[in-house]
């Protein structure tokens, strides 16, 4: 279930072609394959050339084999598939370093993945109106420990143990684009060991 009403959470909207762009960079993760496929069809209808489209995609268990095949044969001038998000992000950064003039960025996938992509884009001063993002897939959160500043990935529970300082953190509904993460704050600082039940909530 996607949680709404968090004021600091970016607003995501369905992807649509931006005809003002010269290069269209599509970046997707897992089930993000679906909105990207739809976008490419809409681009063709709107007259955006296939050659101006470039796709970076990483698959995961949320995506079916069919989706993966769909991406492999995607309707784009260049298609690059990656085994993990780290290598995708690294290639993405290299692309932005080379040129971003007239680039429009389209991102699709879970927020935890999109946040990392958009954080890199922000570093290269891509404006918010040059980026479109559609959220789909796992609502698992990336959590920034406010005490030791480490990030814990793929958090699906209300309370999680920090990967670095090992404190038990409650995941607050407060999101930072700069850190691409939700805030995690020690849950039992007032009375050590006093933990509420741990529940799967971001699934």
């Amino acid at each position: 279930m996607l949680i709404r009403g968090i004021k600091s959470k970016p607003v995501y909207t369905p992807l649509a072609p931006d005809l003002g762009g010269r290069t269209h960079l599509l970046v997707g993760f897992g089930v993000g394959a679906e909105p990207l496929t739809r976008l490419m069809a809409d681009c063709t209808l709107a007259g955006v050339t296939k050659a101006s489209r470039r796709l970076l995609y990483v698959t995961d268990k949320s995506a079916s084999m069919a989706m993966h095949e769909m991406m492999r044969h995607a309707d784009a001038g260049e298609v690059q598939l990656f085994k993990d998000s780290a290598s995708l992000l690294s290639e993405f950064e290299t692309i932005l370093k080379a040129s971003i003039m007239g680039t429009r960025l389209y991102v699709a996938g879970p927020e935890a993945f999109m946040g990392l992509v958009m954080r890199i884009a922000a570093r290269f001063n891509l404006n918010r109106d040059e980026i479109r993002a559609e959220e789909c897939g796992s609502p698992a959160r990336r959590v920034h420990c406010i005490h030791c500043r480490a990030a814990t990935e793929d958090v699906t529970t209300n309370i999680v143990q920090c990967v670095d300082c090992q404190r038990w953190l409650v995941v607050r509904d407060h999101y930072s684009r700069r850190l691409a993460a939700y805030m995690g704050v020690m849950i039992d600082a007032e009375v050590p060991g006093e933990l509420p039940p741990i529940e799967e909530v971001f699934v």
């Binding site: 406010i146 509904d173 407060h174 999101y175 805030m183 704050v185 050590p192």
Partner: protein, 347 residues
């Protein structure tokens, strides 16, 4: 009568902190009636009565030395409490100028500033700091201008850049936060930053405040009061160091509540900055123990009623859950039910 500056106060460990009778009488009780809810309580930051906390734009009081010392301790451990993005340099000079001008004019015995063209000479007699520098040239100061001057001022400071009809936090010195992290919130828009505050969004408080502030003009600063409670006179109640101070909240008992529990009031001021068009947001913090507060009978009655009837969401957000009842029970015998006059004056 000006303040007598204390030299040995601490806001941690042994907590050597108290308010003189003068400081108590000028304490800005945030409750103007016997109940509390969020509102857009913004008013022009015009000079208040003599000796009041709003007599001057930047209040310097008896706790000055201890507060500056506590800031140094925090920064030594956690340097990210001060941050400024590169494009905020002209706003940094704006803030330095604003603070130095006001402090030297309003407290000439403590601070002096002389200018010969761009050559400025600053002398802070309370902290024994003296520097000559070229205004506009950061290499002539020992630290960045905002860092330099806010180490010599009470309260936290946030500088917001204005663009696209919004404000973005892009610089600041925050060592005395009431459970918010500037490091986490850097770069956020006005409403993103205030995201965690309950109820106020639904009351459209932030929409209206943002609209108002976007049009704020130079030389027409505004202010408002905000409040929470803190256990022990601790200034640094940051989320970063919550593992250290969280247990304070569980340490309050019926016997120690009057000395441990403090009302914490923030005098929040907003100034449009002339060169950068950025906005300075000052958060000047005042702490008073329940025992000190109760020396003013009207305040004891009013605070009793306000805390007793506080909205449950605010009890939770302000972190009062564990000890609110102790405070209310301690104040109850001091509330005979008689009416209170409106406004927050001692009577």
């Amino acid at each position: 009568m000006s303040a007598v500056f204390k030299t040995d106060e601490t806001f941690r460990d042994d907590f050597k902190y108290s308010n003189s009778p003068r400081a108590i009488r000028r304490f800005p009780l945030p409750f103007v009636e016997d109940k509390y809810m969020y509102s857009v309580n913004i008013e022009p930051h015009v000079p208040g009565p003599k000796d009041s906390i709003t007599e001057f734009q930047f209040d310097v009081d008896e706790h000055y030395i201890g507060e500056c010392r506590d800031r140094e301790i925090v920064l030594k451990e956690d340097p990210l409490r001060y941050q400024a993005l590169p494009h905020m340099m002209s706003a940094q000079w704006d803030v330095l100028e604003l603070l130095m001008n006001h402090m030297s004019k309003d407290y000439p015995e403590q601070f002096s500033l002389s200018k010969q063209g761009n050559r400025w000479s600053w002398h802070n007699k309370l902290l024994n700091i003296k520097n000559e520098f070229t205004f506009g040239d950061p290499s002539t100061l020992p630290r960045e201008p905002l860092d330099y001057i806010t180490r010599q001022a009470q309260g936290d400071f946030v500088v917001m850049d204005q663009r696209d009809g919004d404000f973005y936090i892009e610089a600041g010195m925050v060592t005395t936060p009431a459970d918010w992290s500037m490091d986490f919130d850097m770069g956020m828009s006005f409403k993103e930053w205030h995201g965690p505050v309950p109820l106020a969004h639904e009351l459209n408080v932030f929409d209206r405040a943002l609209k108002f502030l976007l049009n704020l003009r130079i030389n027409e600063p505004v202010r408002r009061l905000n409040w929470t409670m803190t256990v022990n006179p601790r200034l640094d109640t940051s989320p970063e160091f919550y593992p250290r101070w969280g247990s304070d909240r569980a340490s309050v008992t019926a016997d120690n509540v009057a000395d441990k529990a403090h009302i914490r009031v923030e005098l929040q001021g907003l100034w449009r900055l002339p060169r950068s068009n950025a906005m300075l947001f000052g958060i000047r913090c005042y702490l008073i123990s329940i025992r000190e507060l109760a020396t003013i009978p009207k305040w004891a009655r009013r605070t009793h009623r306000t805390l007793r009837d506080l909205h449950p969401a605010l009890v939770d957000y302000k972190g009062l859950t564990r000890y609110r009842d102790h405070v209310v029970n301690w104040l109850a015998p001091l509330d005979d039910g008689s009416p209170t006059t409106s406004g927050n004056a001692p009577e």
